[in-house]
């Protein structure tokens, strides 16, 4: 299905390319240019045009920017002040052309300057926070990078908490994010490739990888998929994820997303690609495999025994989160003989007076749980406690005393919810929640046999799934025993001397000492 989309897209792209696009060149008259620009943008009131006479001849020039998108101090001290000093300076070349170059070379103290020649260039530049310098008599302009404006400071990520490890998280500013990444991965081979996405609202996207570690095939695949993106607007990296993922029918996330700088940096150094988008703190990490769903950066910061036990705990939690309600239904309705007699009796006693069969009871509770979870996210913080009270007391306690659900059911659902929250990533939790319903339905029809059928189907799905050409089920299967050291177990750091084999990195050794070449 994705391939079809890609193909369609390629055709459209080709068609577009065949019609050459002729942008309007700038006029040499400054007044005319400004008039045209105002017309193009329909004279918004945050468009600032500051006219300054420069040089001995008092040539008219102007700087143009949009209020709020630029760093005011920077524009004030590095551009306006310099230009005004210029008027009293007599060393300036008189010739108009030379004047422009002279200003470019000597007087503007902005580090990143480009030149533009069309009206379109100006419009795009000022909308992305640049300041434009325009000189009368010149058909070209300077586009100076003065990006600024409001942005959040670097904070601790809210969704992925750890006890031990760096607290720093990405924010919405692409420049900051790249800087954070560069600070963490101090490697001259870190490569950043920039894309401009969006037809109507442009945004930059950066693909980061470490050359010499990553397998070039992965980079090629990521780039070729990114090139197919054709949308009017990319508000969040989720858009990118959905465009480039392998299968949109799968409940499993095929691209990891994170707010944590350390996680992204570790992924880069393992031989993965990190995709950053302007305007969102969530960066994408690809390729992703099944094992990555239950890994947390903290596993590596704690000592190996703790890391291993935590991983094991998470695997158990994953199974509980997916299968427990289904298992309860199967055991109580169809295989009641499997339960020990005492337990069966106490369940029967607790279910006394409950008017519904366990299936209905379980669905009632699971759906309530989903509602609570969703409502908890939406509620404003000051009244957030309400949901706890309503959920805990009203639904839990009152439902039991009204004999609508049995206490054991409440325990089962509570355990399931806790288990689902015990995994490190939010999107994984959603996967578990989806799968849980499938298991419950199958269990209510076929009992244990139904659960095993669902389990088999899950396995079939996972072995056929791929993430950027890499089988999703590695390193479980295709088996790479070497990678099992960092899968369910987390071997001591001194033993993790090789990068994951399933990524087939160019440089497989992550530690040089004591590792034989193979």
């Amino acid at each position: 299905m994705r391939r079809r989309l890609v193909k369609q897209n390629e055709q459209v792209n080709n068609q577009e390319k065949s019609q050459p696009y002729n942008p309007a060149k700038l006029d040499s008259n400054l007044k005319e240019n400004i008039l045209q620009l105002k017309k193009l943008l329909d004279e918004p009131n945050d468009l600032i045009i500051r006219e300054i006479a420069v040089g001995e001849d008092k040539v008219t020039s102007a700087i143009i920017y949009i209020d709020g998108l630029i760093d005011k101090q920077l524009v004030q001290y590095s551009i306006i002040e310099n230009l005004q000093k210029l008027s009293v300076n007599s060393q300036l070349p008189k010739e108009n052309m030379e004047l422009f170059d002279g200003i470019y070379q000597t007087f503007i103290t902005i580090s990143s300057i480009e030149k533009g020649e069309t009206l379109e260039d100006i419009a795009n530049a000022i909308l992305s926070g640049k300041t434009v310098f325009i000189l009368d008599g010149q058909a070209k302009v300077m586009l100076m990078d003065t990006k600024g404006g409001e942005s959040r400071s670097v904070e601790q990520p809210t969704a992925e908490n750890v006890v031990r490890g760096p607290r720093i998280g990405f924010n919405e500013n692409l420049g900051t994010n790249i800087a954070l990444l560069r600070k963490t991965v101090q490697n001259s081979d870190l490569r950043l490739k920039t894309y401009q996405l969006g037809k109507q609202s442009k945004r930059s996207l950066i693909v980061a990888y470490v050359n010499g570690i990553i397998n070039p095939i992965i980079v090629k695949e990521v780039n070729s998929r990114l090139e197919t993106i054709d949308v009017s607007d990319v508000p969040e990296s989720g858009f990118v994820e959905q465009w480039i993922e392998d299968s949109f029918l799968s409940p499993f996330p095929q691209i990891d997303s994170t707010e944590r700088v350390d996680k992204a940096a570790a992924a880069l150094l393992q031989g993965k690609v990190v995709i950053l988008l302007d305007g969102t703190p969530h960066v994408l990490v690809a390729p992703m495999t099944l094992g990555d769903m239950l890994k947390s950066p903290e596993d590596y910061y704690e000592r190996w025994l703790i890391g291993t036990l935590l991983r094991l705990l998470r695997y158990v939690a994953a199974f509980i989160a997916i299968f427990l309600p289904g298992l309860y239904i199967a055991l109580v309705t169809i295989h009641s003989g499997m339960l020990p007699t005492d337990l069966a009796l106490s369940i029967a006693a607790s279910r006394e007076g409950v008017p519904f069969p366990p299936v209905v009871e379980a669905f009632l509770m699971v759906i309530t749980m989903e509602l609570l979870q969703e409502a908890g996210i939406r509620l404003p913080k000051p009244i957030g406690q309400t949901i706890g009270i309503v959920g805990g007391l009203v639904i839990g306690d009152a439902a039991v005393s009204a004999a609508i659900v049995s206490p054991i059911m409440v325990i089962v659902i509570g355990l399931t919810a806790i288990a689902a929250f015990a995994n490190p990533s939010f999107s994984t939790g959603i996967t578990f929640r989806i799968l849980r319903f499938g298991v419950m339905i199958a269990a209510s029809i076929f009992g244990l046999y139904g659960i095993v059928l669902v389990y088999i189907m899950l396995n079939i799905h996972v072995v056929n799934l791929k993430s950027f050409g890499i089988p999703y089920s590695t390193p479980f299967t295709p088996t790479m025993v070497g990678d099992w050291k960092d899968l369910i177990l987390r071997a001591p750091i001194t033993m993790l001397t090789r990068r994951p084999k399933f990524l087939d990195p160019e440089d497989s050794k992550s530690v040089n000492k004591g590792v034989k070449d193979s």
């Binding site: 499997m338 009992g447 072995v463 479980f476 295709p478």
Partner: protein
């Protein structure tokens, strides 16, 4: 690039090694100790299992050798090199029909057994149909996916089997093994025959060898793979005899499940643990059925090249379902299984031997390996 190589239709030698026990361990394992015990006296059944096992290992080795001498060639193409195209066509076609039969038989036995052990009310048709649908889902995916499934399920199956055996250690009574070597030749022959039926399915080697990346290493891997079920079967048989005694074993319907029934978890978290055993057994039957189905498709597509895979899947699954519903009761299912097993064993053994002999006489195959 290794991961990417794994993504396509090539399979590694290890995956072939895993595929063989996954194929062989199937429906038979539940009743095997009984059918062997019926023919023999005391604990002599394991000798029959071992003899049949050694013969089968030899056979697997021959098959792998034959197929490996035509690297990366499907069965149909090397068979037509050895014995003209029409004969090869007939052979491939018969293989396809046999594997369809095997899949149908597995589907029915699974439905039948789960109805007996897990639920009484659900009709066997529904149980079998749901199983068939899951099988179709697997077959419709990639072939490499099937081998990965084996890799996921086989360790689980072996683990549960060994777990059941280990837990039963405290029940064994070694004196049950006596008397030894009391069975007459006729009994041995019968038991060897019966046990060879539980090793059917090895002819997948003939077909899957075309996808193996390093065929010259495959014969050894195939032999190792084949010894896994033999060892498990012999162990299982001996444990049944030691725990239940010969007389009881030959009267229990599914002695292996009864073995699992003995398992008691500490604190009695769950009773009737054999349901868990049954669940894992379902995975074993699943891998067998899926591979049988896949081989049927592979064989048919090598004869009828123009048919699409999905068309075949959609055509074969109702056929299989109908075929699986032909037997009316458990005795007819047994007869169905016996006939199918006999034909499969005889046909695949003779085909392999005939092909090898003719290939040797005409000098095809082994020669181009040397020139390579």
């Amino acid at each position: 690039m290794k991961s990417f190589k794994n993504g396509d239709e090539k399979i590694s030698v290890n995956e072939l090694m895993i595929a063989i026990p996954s194929m062989v361990i199937g429906v038979g394992i539940l009743s095997l100790p009984r059918v062997i015990a019926v023919e023999t006296i005391g604990s002599d059944g394991w000798i029959a299992l071992a003899i049949a096992g050694i013969a089968t290992v030899l056979m697997v080795w021959l098959m792998a050798k034959l197929a490996a001498s035509f690297p990366h060639q499907p069965f149909f193409s090397y068979a037509s090199l050895i014995v003209s195209k029409p004969v090869a066509k007939v052979m491939t076609f018969i293989f396809a029909i046999l594997f369809i039969g095997v899949a149908a038989y597995d589907i029915r036995v699974l439905g039948h057994t789960s109805q007996q052990y897990l639920f009484d009310h659900t009709p066997v048709e529904v149980v079998s149909l749901s199983f068939l649908l899951v099988v179709v889902y697997a077959v419709a995916g990639s072939r490499a996916g099937l081998f990965r499934l084996n890799m996921l399920f086989l360790p689980l199956i072996i683990f549960i089997l060994l777990f059941v055996l280990v837990v039963n250690l405290k029940w064994i009574d070694v004196s049950n093994l006596l008397p030894v070597f009391k069975t007459d030749i006729k009994g041995y022959l019968k038991a060897v025959h019966t046990s060879s039926l539980s090793y059917i399915g090895i002819s997948i080697v003939l077909f899957y060898m075309a996808f193996v990346d390093r065929p010259h290493k495959a014969p050894k891997a195939a032999m190792i793979g084949m010894s896994i079920p033999i060892i498990l079967y012999i162990l299982g048989y001996l444990f049944c005899i030691m725990v239940f005694g010969h007389a009881a074993t030959s009267h229990l319907l599914f002695p292996t499940i009864d073995l699992a029934k003995r398992v008691e978890l500490p604190g009695a978290i769950l009773e009737r643990i054999e349901a868990v055993f049954f669940v894992v057994w379902t995975m074993g039957v699943f891998t067998t059925t899926v591979m049988a189905f896949d081989i049927a498709i592979l064989a048919l597509r090598s004869v009828f090249k123009r048919i699409k895979k999905m068309t075949l899947v959609l055509f074969l699954s109702p056929t299989m379902y109908y075929l699986s519903m032909v037997p009316n009761d458990s005795s007819q299912i047994t007869i169905f299984g016996d006939i199918l097993g006999n034909i499969t064993v005889i046909f695949s053994f003779t085909t392999t031997i005939v092909l090898i002999v003719i290939a040797k006489i005409r000098g095809v195959g082994s020669n181009d390996k040397k020139t390579k």
